[in-house]
């Protein structure tokens, strides 16, 4: 295990000291645990002072700081553990912290929380108390909480939890003396047991009976971890995985899962969250109760199956349609495309290249109809960038406000009907940014069934940011065309999902997440997020636009391009579109946004009626995913599924376009 000593200024929250010591079994051990950024390290330095070692936890690159503290004439070993949110570890840091708690001796567990965000942090406190560990709850950053007017009744919290509760401000050292006094007196909490429901409770009893004594952690907690799959048999049971006890445990876990509607993790998390809310109501009072009440009501409204829909429509209308479609695709594109490129850049570039390159074919590579400058760079900068930029800004505002998790909860019910859960909101929402990456994120979904459904829906009915932006820009002047587009694409999304949910076998998913606070977006955060996304997108898109221009140029010289376009012409004619739309469909397979941009030029040239515009937008949105997405789809779901799905998507897209065109013609609808 590599060990290094550190030296720095303890007042700045950095470990200090040149001495080293070896861990001694006779020295009582104190573990500092808690979420990241709650001031654990600062507290650690206040407690330990000079005697500190920093070493990697065995088998990992996670660093642990260990130090000594003199408390009541006795030496104590203090360990600063990596940040953790829950005993059910997800990250490597959490696994190390959880491993320390489960498997190592701890004479005191100091749970450090940010007093300002006590509601989000008490979940771990309850888990630690339930584990039977000798816990002291430290409400750090107490000064900041007081400044915000948050009043925490320490005596009431101590009464409810049955553990010592200490308010500290690690930066000034306030409360540290009280904490030091409490460490030798620490005791296990006497908290009223949380009821997880009969099925889980019965399984806990069965599993707990099979578990031997191990460390200081209660059998109940180890049984809970086994039930949630957060701990393997060897880690939680201290026994041989092949023993009869292991079979009984496996059966109990299976029986429990079959008796409850959602996952065990869902039920346990929900029960703890409810308990935390109850405790906070009893022991914490927040300032401006009316503001908090309003936020709480708004938060609930955002997730309400009926009340949440008007909010969702308002967000879509003002945030996406008006802002992205109106300002991004309208005002900014008009300025960049019409004023900057058409008036200044293009004429200049054409003059320069015509002078320095005498051959027409070579000129076409740069300044032809699909030239690198007049097509590739112009499209990337003047068309896609402003649309994507405004979309990213709207998206960043939603992200920073905390609306997205509430959207996940809102559509959880609808998603369940199409075989998905609210968890699938993450890849679906990301799909509006880039479908390729979103397809990869489907890995986070619980079941293979859910993964396949989400991947197919992404490929079929979720337009990426650039495509969505350009399509919104196209139909912004024709609201009925927009309604028709949204109606057809939405219907295909729901129908395809429902059909797959019925046809594909597998367990139904469940979803529950801890909600972050709903807040006003911070302008600084919005600017940083928007800028970061624009830089990433621009880096990715510009080379591809240039590459596509070169490929088209080669295709035009060799005649392959004309051949492919000619093959597509009868198809686009069949759905009522002009010959030129075949170009856009061909480009769409390179990149989805490329195809959408092709339509933009057709509209500008007055080659399409609003009806044709709607049909083209519907078909192109549902059309084949781009090459990159196809490759990732193949990687995630296999070659057979990827090829079959792509063929089906092609047919569905054209059939829907045909249906839309026929309906408009039959019913005499003029959008």
């Amino acid at each position: 295990m590599p060990v290094k000593t550190t030296s720095a200024n303890p007042d700045r929250g950095e470990p200090s000291g040149k001495s080293r010591y070896k861990s001694d079994a006779s020295v009582p051990r104190v573990l500092l645990v808690g979420s990241p950024n709650v001031g654990k390290s600062m507290l650690f330095n206040k407690l330990t002072g000079r005697y500190v070692t920093v070493s990697n936890y065995p088998g990992t690159t996670i660093e642990l700081s260990r130090g000594l503290s003199q408390i009541s004439d006795r030496k104590y070993e203090i360990i600063d553990t990596p940040g953790m949110y829950s005993l059910s570890a997800i990250t490597d840091e959490e696994k190390v912290a959880s491993d320390l708690l489960l498997n190592e001796r701890a004479d005191a567990v100091v749970h450090v929380v940010d007093a300002k965000n006590i509601e989000r942090m008490l979940v771990l406190t309850l888990q630690l108390i339930e584990a039977g560990l000798p816990v002291i709850l430290v409400l750090n950053m107490a000064d900041e909480a007081e400044q915000l007017g948050i009043e925490i009744d320490v005596a009431e919290l101590e009464r409810i939890l049955g553990v010592y509760v200490v308010k500290t401000t690690a930066t000034t050292g306030e409360g540290i003396k009280t904490l030091i006094d409490r460490i030798p007196q620490v005791r296990a909490g006497r908290f009223e047991q949380i009821d997880y429901g009969s099925a889980i409770e019965n399984s806990i009893s069965v599993i707990a009976k099979q578990l031997g004594e191990q460390g200081h952690v209660s059998r109940r907690t180890r049984a809970l971890l086994l039930l949630q799959g957060s701990c393997d048999y060897a880690g939680c049971a201290a026994g041989d995985g092949g023993s009869p006890g292991a079979d009984l445990i496996t059966n109990a876990i299976r029986d429990c899962s079959s008796q409850i509607e959602h996952s065990v993790h869902y039920h346990i998390t929900f029960a703890i969250q409810e308990k935390v809310k109850q405790i906070v109501r009893q022991a914490v009072s927040f300032p401006g109760a009316h503001v908090r009440d309003f936020r709480e009501r708004l938060s609930r409204l955002c997730m309400h199956p009926v009340g949440g829909l008007p909010i969702l429509f308002a967000v879509m209308y003002f945030g996406v349609y008006k802002f992205v479609g109106g300002i991004g695709a309208g005002t900014v594109v008009d300025f960049l495309e019409g004023t900057i490129f058409e008036t200044h850049i293009n004429p200049l570039v054409v003059r320069v290249f015509s002078t320095i390159i005498p051959w027409q074919t070579a000129q076409d590579l740069f300044i032809g109809e699909y030239g690198v400058v007049t097509f590739g760079i112009r499209y990337a900068i003047a068309l896609v960038l402003p649309i994507v930029g405004t979309f990213f800004m709207a998206f960043s505002i939603l992200e920073d406000s905390g609306y997205l998790p509430r959207l996940a909860m809102l559509i959880d019910g609808v998603f369940k009907k199409i075989g998905l859960s609210g968890r699938a909101v993450v890849p679906i929402v990301l799909g509006f940014g880039c479908d390729t990456m979103a397809t990869m994120v489907t890995r986070t979904l619980e079941t293979r069934r859910e993964k396949i459904i989400a991947s197919v829906l992404l490929a079929l009915a979720i337009p990426c940011s650039a495509q969505l932006g350009v399509i919104l820009g196209l139909v912004a002047g024709h609201p009925f065309a927009l309604v028709a587009w949204a109606g057809f694409v939405g219907s295909v999304f729901v129908l395809a999902g429902t059909l797959m949910a019925r046809l594909l076998p597998g367990a139904k998913p469940s979803f529950y997440m801890e909600l972050p606070p709903l807040r006003l977006p911070r302008p600084g955060n919005v600017v940083v997020k928007t800028y970061s996304r624009m830089v990433w997108y621009f880096k990715e898109i510009l080379p591809l636009f240039i590459l596509a221009s070169v490929l088209i140029w080669i295709g035009q010289i060799t005649g392959v391009f004309q051949l492919l376009v000619a093959a597509l012409v009868p198809v686009v004619n069949a759905i009522g579109l002009p010959d030129k739309a075949a170009d856009a469909f061909l480009f769409g397979f390179f990149r989805r946004d490329y195809g959408a941009v092709g339509l933009y030029d057709l509209q500008n040239d007055g080659l399409m009626t609003p009806n044709q515009l709607a049909v083209a937008a519907i078909t192109l949105t549902l059309f084949l995913p781009c090459i990159a997405q196809f490759l990732i789809f193949k990687k995630e779901c296999g070659f057979k599924i990827a090829v079959t799905t792509s063929l089906c998507i092609c047919l569905i897209a054209l059939a829907t376009g045909f249906l839309a065109n026929s309906l408009f013609n039959l019913l005499g609808i003029a959008l």
């Binding site: 990250t91 990456m437 970061s532």
Partner: protein, 58 residues
């Protein structure tokens, strides 16, 4: 780094090591939250540079 979806804090470097990249040869420019799987773009170098200057001035 704070996840834009679940607002949990995680170590950017460790998260990148934990992420099973789609293409190990190419840096995708995004960081995946280990808790919820949400992807956020990596902070551009220009922003890091600006932050450094701001910190120096302080």
């Amino acid at each position: 780094m704070i996840c834009s979806f679940c607002f949990r804090t995680f170590d950017e470097e460790l998260a990148r090591k934990q992420c099973s990249h789609c293409n190990p040869l190419i840096e995708c420019g995004r960081v995946k939250c280990p808790y919820c799987g949400y992807e956020s773009p990596k902070e551009p170098k220009s922003l890091k540079w600006l932050n450094k200057i701001r910190m120096k001035k302080k």
